[in-house]
Structures are given as structure tokens and as C-alpha cells.
Symmetry: C2
Subunit: 283 residues, 2 copies
């Protein structure tokens, strides 16, 4: 152990050896003293970097519409961009719900599975959920439709919104996409989807509103996935009747889109207008 190394371990004896080594190297490279670097590091850490308030898409959705169902994006990677959202899995194997940093897979057998960090997805839409408005709703709102209600809560069609609804649901109708071969166009893969109906069930809806002009990148309008409170049921929301719920809405003034660096993506024909296909596949 040389002198510098010894001094450093006396200065901050509580730091592990690997970090002391890296601190010494950084100090030599930058010409800043170790004390100086620690002070800088601590300032940055305590100030914190403001969280990126963005909707993150791992892929433009038109790639999914054209049948690209296999990408290398892991859940671990996705969690760097959000703790809340929805998506699907490689080979279109079910509906994804991301709630409070936990990933759930609702497969076409109707069952819900916990998802590990090394599993992969061809498409997710996520954000760090931090609602700007919270509304508590009583049953009394049943006179109008669910989507009319959402429209009344969203100030502009040109903004992105993350929407989370927790509580009791009088009726929920979902569908779940079945596993499909890679390269099957989405309209084909979604032709025969099982539909599920639930009555008087507690749970959560996680989803987004996306302006229509972004339809090549994300599902336009409202796109929401349901997960029951007991984590046993769920799916892509078709419609619902709300009971007593809390509705959180986050205004998101930024869209971040990843472009896959895979041969499939780079050579795909993405010139078609996919809006109609997406409408057919989603409902």
C-alpha cells in the first residue's frame, strides 16, 4: 500500500477498498483532491437530479403493428425509464402491467404471473408516476361512460397523460393477446383474443392518453391495462363501470422513444399508415 492509499483510507476509513481505489484514480486523473471529489459527489447526490417527467416508449408501436414481436429490451432496462405503465412481452405473450415498480404478466389463459428483471419486451410505455391531480369518485358517476369521464379530466388533446385508477370496479371487461409467432401482423395475431369480464372487483388501471398525431409511435387515445387487487386477474381494458375509485392524472410534457438497433427493426418496412390496423387490433 503506498502513502496516498494509506492517507485516503485514514481520511475516510468507512469506505470500502474498491471505492477508495477508484477515488484515488479519479483524483490523479482530474487533479482534484479526494476531499474535493467527495464534497462534489455529495453535493450532486443531495441536490439530486430532477426526475425526467417523460413517457418512454421502448420501440415505436408501428414496429409491433408490423409483427416485430422480439426485442432485447429487458425489464431491468425498462425500469430505468419508469415504475408505472403497460406493454407486452416477447412473442406478444400477454398484457403487461407495471405498478409501483412491479411487473405483472397477464397471459391469455387468464392467469397473472410475476415477471423477472431479465425477461424481455418488444414494446412498453412507461413513466415515473407522480400525479398532478387526484380525484376521489363516488358511485354516482355511473351515468356517463368511462371514456367520457376521462375526457372531462384531461385538459388538452395535445398533451400526454399517465392515468392511474385504484379502487372498486362494478364491471370490467378486458381482453388478453395470445402468444404469437414473430412476424405475424398485429391484426392477424389479435383476431381471436379471449375476453374476460369481472364484477365487483377491487383493482387498478394503469395507462396513458396519447395524442392522435403520435399514432405511429404509441397507441393513440386511451390505452389502459387492468390488474385486480389480489393480482389474480387483469388484461387490456375494453370498458369498465367504476365504483368508488381514486383517479390520479399526471401531465407529461415529454415523449422519449427508443429505436431498436436490431436487424429486424432496421430492415422493416415501416412506411404504411398503421392507424387503422392499430384501431382494429386494440378493440
Amino acid at each position: 500500500m503506498d502513502d496516498d492509499q494509506e492517507n485516503l483510507s485514514m481520511l475516510v476509513p468507512f469506505l470500502p477498498q474498491d471505492l477508495l481505489n477508484r477515488l484515488r484514480i479519479s483524483s490523479e486523473r482530474t487533479g482534484c483532491s479526494a476531499m474535493n471529489l467527495i464534497e462534489k459527489a455529495l453535493r450532486e447526490f443531495l441536490e439530486g437530479t430532477p426526475r425526467n417527467n417523460a413517457v418512454y416508449l421502448s420501440t415505436p408501436i408501428n414496429a409491433l403493428v408490423e409483427g416485430l414481436y422480439v426485442e432485447n429490451t429487458t425489464m431491468a432496462e425498462i425500469k430505468k425509464h419508469g415504475d408505472f405503465g403497460l406493454g407486452t412481452f416477447n412473442f406478444l405473450d400477454g398484457e403487461m402491467v407495471l405498478l409501483d415498480g412491479n411487473v405483472y404478466q397477464i397471459r391469455s389463459d387468464g392467469n397473472v404471473y410475476q415477471v423477472k428483471d431479465d425477461e424481455k419486451s418488444p414494446f412498453v410505455c412507461v413513466t415515473f408516476f407522480n400525479p398532478d391531480t387526484i380525484d376521489d369518485l363516488e358511485n354516482s358517476n355511473n351515468s356517463r361512460g368511462f371514456y367520457d369521464l376521462l375526457n372531462s379530466l384531461i385538459p388538452s388533446e395535445n398533451m400526454l397523460y399517465a392515468i392511474r385508477i385504484d379502487g372498486s370496479f362494478i364491471h370490467v371487461k378486458t381482453r388478453v393477446v395470445p402468444r404469437a409467432e414473430n412476424y405475424t401482423p398485429l391484426v392477424e395475431a389479435t383476431k381471436n383474443q379471449p375476453v374476460f369480464e369481472f364484477h365487483n372487483m377491487r383493482g387498478s388501471l394503469a395507462g396513458f392518453y396519447t395524442p392522435r398525431f403520435m399514432e405511429s409511435l404509441n397507441a393513440p387515445g386511451y390505452h389502459m391495462h387492468f390488474l385486480s387487487e389480489d393480482r389474480q386477474h387483469g388484461g387490456h381494458l375494453i370498458d369498465c363501470i367504476l365504483g368508488r375509485v381514486r383517479i390520479g392524472i399526471q401531465h407529461v410534457p415529454k415523449l422519449d422513444v427508443g429505436l431498436p438497433v436490431t436487424l429486424d427493426y432496421l430492415t422493416a418496412d415501416l412506411t404504411r399508415d398503421v392507424g387503422n390496423d392499430l384501431d382494429k387490433a386494440e378493440h
Copy 2:
């Protein structure tokens, strides 16, 4: 001074008092020991955050096409997202070139102006330029057109690319958008643009290739702005014949789009397909 405070200043006596206070508060809030927080801070600091390799748009371009020419986005804000790129200024007042972190304004009088950090823009497209490939070209490439040459350098129509070309130009043809009233549709505002031609001039082209399916967000295909080496001439590139140049191309696997939180943007009608208008306005 209480006990905790005293212990802390014995532990890391070289840290200034304000930082010790904040460290103590953070430790109380998080339940982590001060030693633990210092270790975490130092790890994050020494690992560093990799630069975001993304094309950043301050606004979806369809807002510009509809005549929204006034936003609050300052150059200082824009420089957080890139040191290279192009755009325009509030009231569509000329063509912007961003090179090596310096912002230039080419106005319709043909003159070039340096731009201060507090000036504002309704639309920019920027990145941190870091080319993946560099090609040195001799005059011999003149047999084929400029855009054919670019096509041969770009591996996929589905990726974003930042393109920088420096050197001598045999011929450059540009146009410069004249200042316009807010809310004038872009096809109107760009009907009578002055055109400039330059011969045997050294300079730089800064621009991007954007996939066609992103046309509601960014100008699709190649979009490049020219700036002469003496910073006296420039404009939106119509066409050119290259001399000896160096071509740098950066593959950019991410698109970040800001959505303005302004009444104009939030209430705009952005439902039109703007592709044709954009083609008309650009050329």
C-alpha cells in the same frame, strides 16, 4: 451543536458546514447512515451518467406547420439537450444553425447573427454530436447527387441520424424563411422565401435524417442547414455539390420530444395530416 452534528463533523471534518447540515437532514429522512450516503454519492459520481444519445425536438413540428411561431424555449434550455443541430426562432425569424455549442441565426436579409442564450425558439432539433463514422470525400463524388450520396451512407430508413459535413462546397443553394406573424400557416409563411446561391465556399452543413413515420414530430428525410466558414452566409439547404469534405454521421437510437405547456399549443388543432404541407414549405 447536538451530538449527531458533532459526530458527523468528526467523521468528515473536511466538509463545509452547509453540506454537513444537509447530510444530517438527508440521513434523518432516509434512515441511511451518513457513511452510507457518502458511499452512495461517491459511487454515482465516479460511475458518471452516460450522455443521452438522443435527437431532441423542443416541439412536435406539426405545431410549427399550423403556425405556432412563439414558444418560451430559450437557447440556454436547448443547449442542455445538444451542442449541434438546427431550427428556427420565434416569429419564424430565420434559420438556426447550432455548431459546437454556438448558435447562429441566418435571417432573410442573408446576414448571419450570433444568438444569445436568452433568445427563444418555437422549434429546434438538436443532439450532442459524436459521429460513429467519418468519411473523407474527394471531388470525385460529383457524378452523383448529394442526396443519393447521403442515402448510400445511411444503413436504415428507420433510424435517426445526425449528419455534419465540413469542407469545401462547389455550389450551395439555400433559402431563408422570412419573419412571419404568429398563427400564419407555414405554407403561407414560406411562399416567398429568398434563395441564396454560393460558389466555391468553405463551410459546414448541420442536419438530420428522420424516418418518414415521424413526420408529425420532425421534418422527415434529410433536413440540413448551411453555414459558411466565415460565418457570413448560410440558410436551409436546398441542394449542393460537394468539394473536398469530411462527412460525420452519428446513429441516434432515441427520439426525445418536448410538448409545450402553453395555451397556444394545448388548444391547437393538430389533427391534420401535415406531411404535404411540410414538403411544400421545405422545398
